[in-house]
Point group: C2
Chain length 326, copies 2
DNA sequence: ATGAAAGCGCTAACAC
DNA sequence: GTGTTAGCGCTTTCAT
């Protein structure tokens, strides 16, 4: 592993000149710079980022933490962050808390050390912990809102209100809500949205859960849900809805004739769920990109931290239909 | 951010004693250690890993690179690595090359700087590049075999041979193979396995592709495949097979009556594909865990680098059936 | 325009 | 058992 000293020796200059040539900032004669660059390339010199970080305080990385990388909802978010980071020649480190808040804290600490800032997606940590983390390393939240911290979140309250309005319009009077992780901020917003709407719509809302936001969980809870006299089911996310949907069908339930099913996130591709899953889709730009941009702003000390609430829209597909005659 | 100096001052000892107390290795009186630890906790001191790494040469991280985090095949692999790493109190950094070899090289370099070793999953980089990387940072390959480098891989050649034998046994005489990424090592093994088997079985093998290993790609290529007179389709992976399956059904094809479909990896959960997808399932322990263990061995200078080839088994489900009468 | 030198936070000899 | 000190590889004043 070539170091800056090797390059300096080989090029016949001081290490300071090598550093300057590489970083471009300061005044170095064009001739020297070219020579240094050539030597660096010849030696296949890669500056040690840890050493650099030690002095500059900048590592050139952004850390991203998600509860579950396998969840398709998070893929586009991570991709959006990566895109923004790449444009600034920064690397992205991804950590997966596997929905475990204890693990999450450790991972965030670690991430914070190797990264200049972190994007915490759907964090399950307590407000106070998050606020404390933010004092140590620049932090942007996604799908989580905590007083004082910058965030990008879907307006799940509005989304669920609209969704239930749609479902009620189809004549459903008893609806089950399959709740997600206890510590999920968006889960609370979703439930609140549903409860608010249910009151006004004359809908009886049965809340079940918490469940883990996965396809498998959806399948596992299907039997139990079918024992209620609900004619429609709304789930915390598309994965749970999808699992429930397939399992219910296997149990002989017709969707949407016997039961209407809806999810949240619009995370499934066409044809995965059949019939297509009615869901709530976040509008506009990628949450990941927005969050990353906020983070870059924080790092530059440029922008004011803000909470961006993204509107969302109900997408009606085949999994919802008129309530059965009863 | 408290440093080791703050702790030393506060505890009334030298920084060396703080370091020793924290790392546990050397002899420190129990009394001092406790006092130092208490102060450290009080100050919420977190040792700077970059600084430590600069002197020890160890960062306490392992880097993992996958072509696509969203691909369900890679989830369990990453989970296996994480488990082994966690047991050694090491962190895992995950990078996603998005199937782009150019991006991959940059990411690997970066990973290599922040990690003590890397696990490269299904790398698309040339042999020579991989060998060179391995000289710089300890490297273990997953689903890729390169002379001289440690690896864990599925015996895709055998798997595909067995799968085609199964399919031929059902009477299929013309089979399409939907190939994966050009640079995929396992893709070459799969094709070779199929071609070898086809000759002996009297099966005509039509190769199509390369395609990206995704559900969407499978859907997109369905129409084209249906124009061939093949009665069975074998895909590079389950995702392609699944996409093809759903799209073909939408186009009015009955599976398996009109067309048999099979994948590879056994990556789908029950009920996702309907009928269940016949596939090839890797046997035994997690490839991720095995790879991580090899990496730990390398780091300790303990084990000999080895190439572990994992056997796999055909899992017959509803998506394959007897060839149509013609 | 370039070099010398002082650290960034930490560990690992080496003294005592 | 504990302190002193020399760096790890790099950036960044401050001189020149």
């Amino acid at each position: 592993m070539a170091t800056i000293h090797d390059v300096a020796r080989e090029a016949g200059v001081s290490i300071a000149t090598v550093s300057r040539s590489l970083n471009g900032q300061a005044r170095v004669s064009e001739t020297t710079r070219q020579r240094v660059l050539a030597v660096a390339r010849a030696l296949d010199f890669i500056p040690n980022r840890a050493a650099r970080g030690l002095v500059t305080g900048r590592l050139g990385n952004v850390g991203v933490l998600v509860p579950d990388v396998a969840n398709p909802f998070f893929g586009p978010i991570v991709a959006g962050i990566e895109e923004v980071a790449q444009a600034r020649d920064m690397g992205v480190f991804l950590a997966d808390s596997r929905e475990d808040p204890d693990a999450e804290l450790g991972l965030v600490r670690r991430l914070g050390q190797q990264a200049d800032g972190v994007v915490l997606v759907a964090s399950r940590l307590p407000d106070a912990t998050l606020q404390e983390i933010a004092t140590r390393t620049p932090t942007v939240l996604v799908n989580r809102v905590v007083p004082g911290l910058p965030a990008v979140a879907v307006d799940a309250h509005q989304g669920m209100r609209d969704l239930l309005t749609e479902v009620a319009g189809l004549g459903h009077r008893t609806v089950v809500y399959l709740d997600g992780p206890v510590r999920s901020w968006s889960g609370r917003a979703k439930r609140a949205g549903l409860e608010d709407a249910a009151a006004g719509l004359g809908v009886e809302l049965l809340v079940r859960g918490p469940y883990s936001p996965s396809y498998g969980a959806g399948r596992a809870l299907a039997a139990e849900v079918l024992e209620t006299d609900a004619t429609a089911v709304v789930a915390f996310d598309d994965l749970i809805a999808w699992g429930l949907l397939t399992r219910a069908q296997e149990l002989g339930v017709r969707v949407p004739q016997d039961l209407s099913v809806a999810g949240f996130d619009d995370a499934l591709e066409e044809g995965m769920a059949r019939p297509g899953l009615t869901t709530v889709s976040p509008q506009g730009a990628s949450m990941g990109a927005l969050a990353a941009q906020q983070l870059m702003g924080l790092l530059d000390g440029a922008t004011e931290p803000a909470v961006e609430m993204l509107a969302c829209e109900v997408v009606v597909r085949g999994s919802t239909g008129p309530a059965p005659a009863a």
